[in-house]
Amino acid sequence: MRVELRNVLKEWGDFRLEIDGLIVEDGEFLTLLGPSGCGKTTTLRIIAGFERPDRGEILFDGRPVNDLPPYERNIGIVFQDYALFPHMTVFKNVAFGLEMKGLPRGEIEKKVRWALEIVGLTGLENRYPEQLSGGQQQRVALARALVVEPKVLLLDEPLSNLDAKIRERLRGEIKRIQRTLGITMIYVTHDQEEAMAISDRIAVMNFGKVEQVGEPLELYYSPRTEFVARFLGLSNILKLEAENGRACLGELCFDVGRDGTVRVFFRPESVYITPGNTAEMIDYELLPGRIRIKLEIDGKSLIAERFLNELPFSVEEMPERVGVVVRDFSIL
């Protein structure tokens, strides 16, 4: 199902959430990414129907759903703390939505079995939530939301209470389930790595506004704002004066195709190190298999990140000055 937010406004004291023209295509995996307090969870809750916007429209397949209560929107939601009913077994939790629909017993059992199989929890039907691990609880929450075959599945930081390892495994599974079922998913997270790994498209949010929507690599290499650039990873942003379509920092020049003040953006891995004399080596940091180097040209700092075996010299014999080549840059 296609979800659209048109001209939506929600005010809470000082906080102002404004979203216009956010579209989630049918079968798409869209992530709302942003720091805490940016309004991503509120956006999700508006789509779910737990919050009413002050104005604007929420459209499901082009039909406004503003006046529909959550229980008539045909959505599924997975909460950060899972919100499993503690007084019900796994089976009862998953069956809850089907019982609300008044399905016959046999069908309920069949569908619950199907949902538990999808999330890989077959055999745990009679456990209570407190007897499960965090990862298992997460899967139950997922099964419970999926079993009613919602038109859109909303996930509010579903993995943030889990260990790093389980988190990585589960996000892969969520992605797999989304592909298999072809269901529209809207996913909220503050973790840019998670967002990159899982999303078809990402909407980066800040201070109640969507800064940019796009595919992960598009956002990563061609951010439109400094916020998006900085939020998605380490950045180099150089403010330079361009003449004749070229902006230069010492010997390092960029073909920017315009004149005047420009902000040139590039990622650390776009900076290649050669033997030479362009930049001063300030400091470096070793990462697993890689090296992060802090450089300076004419008093401006740059960060480069390379695999160790790409360097033209060994770490022990690091020279004081090196050459620098930048590939793939964009203008902010």
Binding site: P70, Y71, H87, G97
Partner: protein
Amino acid sequence: MRLRTGFILVPLAFLLVFFYVPLVSIIKTGLWENGFTLKYISAVLQNDYHRHVILFTVEQAIASTLLTLAFGLPGAYIFAKYDFLGKRLTRAILTVPFVMPGIMVALGYILLFGRDGIITGLFGHDLGILYSWKGILLAHAFYNFPIVIRMVSSLWQRVNPHYEEAAMALGARGWRLFWRVTLPMISPAIFASAMLTFVFCFLSFSIPLIIGGYQYATIEVDIFTSIMTLLDFKTGSALAIIQITLSVVFMYLYLRSLDAYARREEQKVLRKPVPFTRRDWLSLKGLAIALYSFLVFVFIVSPLLAVLYDSLRFNGHWSLEWYRRVFSAEYNPMFGATTLDAIRNSLAFGFTTVVLSLLVALPIAYALHRWNFTGKRLFDVMVMLPLASSPITLGLGYVRVFHATPLYYTFWIVAVAHTIIAYPFVLRAVSTSLKKIRPNLFEAALSLGAREWKAFLKVELPLALGGVIVGAIFAFAISIAELGATYMLAKPEYTTMTVAIYKFLGARQFGSASALSVLLMVVSMAGFLAIEGVGEEVW
């Protein structure tokens, strides 16, 4: 929307008719005579006896609270810090006073400290505890020290040990560590439990009525005698106005302190009680704990045992004669019914009160929990105010308002009075457990297609069931133990067990009183066991 209006207006209408109209009628009686007048209030304040009663009521409440704290705080410390053999049993015993009717404690004290009492016999002379302020204080401490232990130890367990460890690393130890670090963290519990004890003692009725006598009456007893013996409604109303004014203030302080307590109580228990080894028992600390547990045991069990013993003694030998008399279908002219009737009535009032209290409290709790509406704060105050009223005041109001209506002298007027006294406790119990449910669960149910009322029935109510059941049992215990309002409002055929016991006491028929009390205790115990059973299963 219609559901919401109903949930708010129906309980409100009930409270208007059965609480606010009687209250206004009392205020009118006390402050109105061809216009507003302070004549009766000032008459009461200028009368030496009434002034003495008012002062004594406050003084004994303060003294009782201090005694209660002195007895309860060491217990709170022990319960929070240590695990020992018999802790569960002690904890169970501590619940006993809470469901014991006041009249039974009073009877136990007469049998222990009276002229022919068991303890009087042991010492060989009257200790001067009965019919004095000492007896009242002791009985009040008996009632309330378990509350202090429960509330304070609950918070004490939640004090993060890192605070104390950090303070110790900074050089604090012993008394200073306690005074500067621990005490500020447990003080909300001390204050809240002290306020609760104070309110309880301030409104105390059965105990001062029976073991205080004329000299040591509380305002509640004074109103009772003004109306029932002297038929002086003007003085009774003036006293009631003074009492309710004071108790509203005290109740407000209590509720505020309870909020502070409840916030702290939400924290996780981080402290594991230290298990006691055999060597610990032989240390000074172990000895102190053993001694304290023993005292608790004696303190709580002795009035019960005294009543039980007396009920089994007939003309100097063991016998079930008193029980035979209780169960005989003989008409008793003293209270105008058979004892069996009294038992049946108590149970009928008890169960009716449970049903009515739930009918009043559940919609209110739900409305307060789920919805925001204009006037919510006022609604909140209006539904909690009956907590500050007393049974005697309520009885007085009912006599004033309903004496000319067909409702008067019926079964229902007593049941309704019990409901007004009991439902605030049900409301609190239910509200507290509703508050503990994460709002996510409700939303999750909505997202799965459940309508609001279905989400409530299927998800929230089952999770709050513990609170509902505890509230129901409170209502039952309160109704079963109620004496003052019942005495004022029930006609002879609706005599309850407590009224019958009171009449037996008046006639100094202690054997019958004891046997009936033991039966009352059995009924209350059943309720108490249910509280414990449910309390441990509650989420």
